[in-house]
Symmetry: C2
Subunit: 403 residues, 2 copies
């Protein structure tokens, strides 16, 4: 793949596929040619000449002329099959499918090693923000302490409407769906599932650990109510859905949870469908990356950037993983402590004893809350997260500690 | 330079040199060995063994064992000589010296081409923020419209003190100097000279133009007074010292000036010694990078990142420059229009006629101001910038247009 001319086979011609096509058309520097585009829907009208299209995936996968496959379809299972077959045929692959990557990460890593062929997925993680590339290349020798941020545009759009425009949750969600920011099944966004997939990808490139999405806990913004919003406002906070991973000794912790953020925290200023990623390096200190986390052109441009990187033989080296194997030092752990706010409509009898330390107690009629330090693993098995009358929100001055 | 073991000769062991030494010590992945450190001051006590040190630059430059030279001295002229000799001897060079790079950019580019040897300078541009690397690699095929940001930590520290803590300019400057953020000659920081050097480096990697610092206009924050601050506060603005470059048709404009920023602008939230860079791509839309723009460890970690990149043969390709040569399309121009606020203690008789359009006029006793659209080249030759009773501040809703 050294300065080869890129001949592209693309799977999917939805919003991102079209974004890619048009960015490619307007890009002077890159000599990449679209050979075929494989689509599913035979009835939809298409905006470019029909000779580009095929309905048969093997017309791309078996075409020896095509050296780069771009996978942009929704279905993670079908995507996985396409990607594996392409890699095994020696074709480089660029994908935007975060769920597919997160679900099959270690397998995909191994296939890359075995077949010595690159798989790039920058666009899968916060679209236009160059998260993976920077973690791989720029921080390869800085000791990373933590990565945290807003990884989902739809839920951030909803929280922005609630905090900046006094919208209520249901309205804000409807608005996000109408604007095309939210999935039809909004739980993927607002429940933190989408953020979690991105966090898995980040954990691999920041700490060299391949973790399954099932190993990472996610909790969404659905239970946040007017009382919680009022509480945040009175303290000068906003609420953001935050994914975080942090090295604590030999442990790596990671989860997706709503969090109170102070004005001094840069995430406070991240509004609407933007994503923001904070990288805490031992030496570089805090770095922050902001950009649109979704959308046709932002995602298309990240895909394009991966395609361009392939022209000069770029591949992920997974340096942190190799360092980890050598040193056998880092493991995902669950037994950490953090500071949380738990509000419940109803009594706190079963919740209060869970806390190691209680900083603030509030009782007013039926609405009660506690703020304090709690063990994450204890909280997880307590049933609080499943209690629809309760909400758990990370405190704004969190210090995560190994329990 | 393919996976070669790195043998380092370092020039300078001040704040950044020491930062580098200690980050190197704590870094597992990178096998780089410090062979010699060339220093000037024979009297200063050093924190590491004396066998590392030499006072003779040729002990590094003539040592065939040393394959990478790291240049971290203050004096741009001496630095240039060291860097040129190192490159011509086939040694890769990493430098943090923005003035040296900006002053000699095209020459340094040509020497790299002629001797086929890499010169990396990520740390010269906003220290820990990976600006150059991202412009080179990630946006190599996105059409960049503009880059703007806060490129100087000291002046931003001063503006933060003024806006967030009601400090007056002289106090804030003294505070910055005591904290070690400001140069002994503060005009380099507050006058926009330092920002301008960084802007020159950015222009080369964003638009492929090598411009001399003398070609770029800079105007500082020294004339901003309590009236201007009050004006900003009433409108809900803050003032930031902003470097910007923007493509307007076939023209590229660039300058450093104080600017009013609204709360919606991410630069509003950039406080203290932080730097922030906004990249406006045609497809990726707005991206933002934030980090510490100075300091021992943030700069040291960027130098380390460059050293690490050398182990896998990395060099800047100057892709935009080569595209420009092919297409001969972009030129630095001066005849653009922007919206400015001009306040003057005294009459506005000579200033008012300069405006193409006046949006706001204010007269109160001896303090007067105008807001409106003006031609930059006309303003530059008008003497307003040299008038110590006046100040020019970019309007918050700027649209830069070719005149």
């Amino acid at each position: 793949m050294k300065q080869n001319k890129i001949k592209l086979g693309i799977f999917g011609f939805g919003c991102v596929g079209q974004g890619l096509y048009y960015t490619l058309e307007q890009t002077q520097g890159l000599k990449a040619e679209v050979v075929k585009i494989c689509i599913k829907d035979r009835t939809k009208e298409r905006s470019i000449p029909s000779h580009y299209f095929t309905f048969d995936k093997d017309e791309i996968l078996d075409n020896p002329d095509i050296n780069v496959v771009v996978e942009l379809i929704d279905d993670p299972k079908a995507a996985y099959e396409i990607v594996v077959k392409a890699l095994k045929s020696g074709k480089a692959v660029v994908t935007a499918n975060k769920k597919m990557v997160a679900d099959n990460f270690e397998e995909l890593f191994k296939i890359q090693q075995e077949y010595n062929v690159p798989l790039l997925y920058e666009s899968s993680c916060c679209a236009s923000i160059p998260v993976i590339r920077n973690l791989e290349e720029y921080y390869d020798n800085d000791l990373i302490n933590a990565v945290e941020g807003i990884f989902n545009g739809s839920s951030n759009y909803i929280l922005t409407k609630i905090f900046n425009e006094n919208a209520v949750y249901a309205e804000a969600l409807k608005d996000a769906q109408e604007k095309g920011f939210a999935e039809t099944n909004p739980i993927l966004d607002v429940g933190g599932f989408d953020s979690k997939n991105k966090l898995c990808i980040i954990i691999a490139h920041a700490f060299g650990l391949f973790v399954k999405p099932e190993q990472i806990f996610n909790y969404g913004i659905q239970n946040i109510n007017a009382f919680d919003v009022q509480y945040a406002r009175e303290k000068g906070f906003r609420i953001r859905l935050v994914g975080f991973t942090r090295k604590v000794g030999k442990g790596v912790v990671g989860a997706v949870l709503p969090a109170f953020v102070k004005e001094e925290n840069i995430l406070y200023s991240i509004n609407n469908e933007y994503n923001g990623v904070i990288v805490e390096g031992a030496f570089s200190e805090n770095q922050f990356f902001l950009g649109k986390g979704a959308g046709s052109y932002p995602t298309g441009s990240a895909v394009l950037s991966d395609i361009s990187a392939l022209t000069y033989g770029y591949k992920y080296e997974y340096k942190k993983y190799h360092q980890n194997i050598e040193n056998r030092d880092l493991n995902l752990v669950d037994d950490f402590k953090f500071e949380v706010y738990i509000r419940r409509n109803g009594d706190l009898k079963t919740i209060a004893p869970l806390f190691d330390e209680i900083i603030e107690v509030h009782r007013s009629g039926n609405i009660n809350y506690l703020v304090g330090t709690i063990s994450f693993s204890k909280l997880k098995s307590s049933g609080v997260f499943e209690d629809n009358d309760a909400v758990v929100i990370l405190s704004s001055n969190n210090k995560i500690e190994i329990a």
